[in-house]
Subunit: 332 residues, 2 copies
Amino acid sequence: MATNRQWIYAQKPTGQVGPEHFELRTSVMPDPGPGEVLVKTSLLSIDPASRAWMAGRTYRSMLEPGEVMAGWGLGEVVASLSPKFQPGDRVSGEFGWQEHAAVSAARLTKHDKHHAPEHILGVLGITGLTAYFGMLDVGKPRPGETVLISGAAGAVGSIAGQIAKIAGCRVVGTTGSAEKCAWLTNDLGFDAAIDYKQGGIARQLKTVCPEGIDVYFDNTGGEVLEAALARMNLRGRVACCGNVSQYDGATPGGGPMGVPGFLVTKRIRMEGFVVMDFYDRREQAEAALARWIADGTLKAPVDIIEGFEGMPTALAGMFAGKNRGKLMVRVN
Amino acid sequence: MATNRQWIYAQKPTGQVGPEHFELRTSVMPDPGPGEVLVKTSLLSIDPASRAWMAGRTYRSMLEPGEVMAGWGLGEVVASLSPKFQPGDRVSGEFGWQEHAAVSAARLTKHDKHHAPEHILGVLGITGLTAYFGMLDVGKPRPGETVLISGAAGAVGSIAGQIAKIAGCRVVGTTGSAEKCAWLTNDLGFDAAIDYKQGGIARQLKTVCPEGIDVYFDNTGGEVLEAALARMNLRGRVACCGNVSQYDGATPGGGPMGVPGFLVTKRIRMEGFVVMDFYDRREQAEAALARWIADGTLKAPVDIIEGFEGMPTALAGMFAGKNRGKLMVRVN
């Protein structure tokens, strides 16, 4: 009988997430029901949000131990009980961490084979759309402004920073090592980068943002948010994309000082967003991102781990800051 | 020789502000220079922002001990070296805490005598405009939504809540006593009110906002902000008007938990504003406020302390929650 390997979310982490919170299980091959499609996964995305899904209710209900671990992926249709899909179709969707998934056709997106698979799951998928709408629609940068991005070497941050450059801004990133700082400025065209692990974030920001910050694209929350608020200019905008500094720990820290004080005195707008809110405009964004990739304006760095076995290690490594750009696992 | 009494900001408070931080001084009558006007003050406004001006730079530079205490007032022109003003004109401006002030004509606003003086300094002045623009332009309430206002029995809060009622919302206020709660619901038409001093703010909010909060007009920051964020609905809006819970203390507390977490997951927009940003549209707002006052839709409660001597006591009393509505002092 055909089998299917799955990573089960086995235990809720109380601190940092690691391989001990997951179990590799061999199950029977799923059998698609009416309107469903059987997909063989080829690439699975590793996302910071996964950790937040374990901690509590977010924009989705909390993950419960015992379930197949949730996550997005790209794959190929192997059997279809839907007239909309044929075997061989390339599709993306929320497959979970498993080699095969039976998914309702309504929850799948079909992709032509023009684009590289890693781009479909990265810059042309949720990652790129998050960067695009968060930066342009929430941050609203204007040419000549200073834009700060935290988690700048990550999947969303690396794209968001380059989009701000395309918008004509001076772009500064925060990341967790001198090596990644150099990568941001040398390879991705950031104007400056700081290593938050060196401490003194406020002082470092003062040096690299001498004219203050107009837009802050916040992937991390925490200390960088607090320091950025103190350095924001009048009518600055904070696009709240994530809170990754708080995801992977036992007790969430307090909120940033300066809320609401700086918001009032400097008329700052802080606004959270989730990419799904912009889904009706995704074709416009995908077209722009694909054009920038094609003409070389935008680099879409990917960090691919080989082998389905490595999923939990890859997730833990992301919180340790090991990846550059979009992290994904090649299933076979 | 004619004299002029002034309250001098004598000492920076390290904790709660009180009369000991001010000194009553008798000075010589000021002599207006070219383009200036000599004003005899009749009403002086007592504002929470005064305490923030002492603590540090806000939207204005920090007050320095030794200066005449800053503040807004209403008065009458007694001498004018400007063609724009005549003795007897009713004017408002930043006079400071003094019986007479020599003020540049460019910094004065002339008022006709159609409106009651206390309304010019209150609901038709900065207080009412703050409530109007903060609620309608920043909060953007829609009919049927739930609107929460902290500091609801204060000058701005009492007007902001009534404007939300006019906009067709369910309106809930927070204040600091059962008596003020009853006043909000019985006299000002709030749908519900809670006494934050009873504690359990999150639990109380759950009871009075069973369908969540769509707009939070935040005058206080602190605990109420933290509890409100947890109860906000998807795409809720927080209009950040003030941070009065943090003004009158030695050490500012940490920021609210849930920033940026709730902002992301619930796509909340938090936005600070200062009434001056809307000054080009003030005539529109004044006309609407005057119409609502005239037709009885809007009540403009005022709390008037008699006698210039009482200025510091009035300011301290405001932080102790003694006033209802707009607090001002009648100078003579």
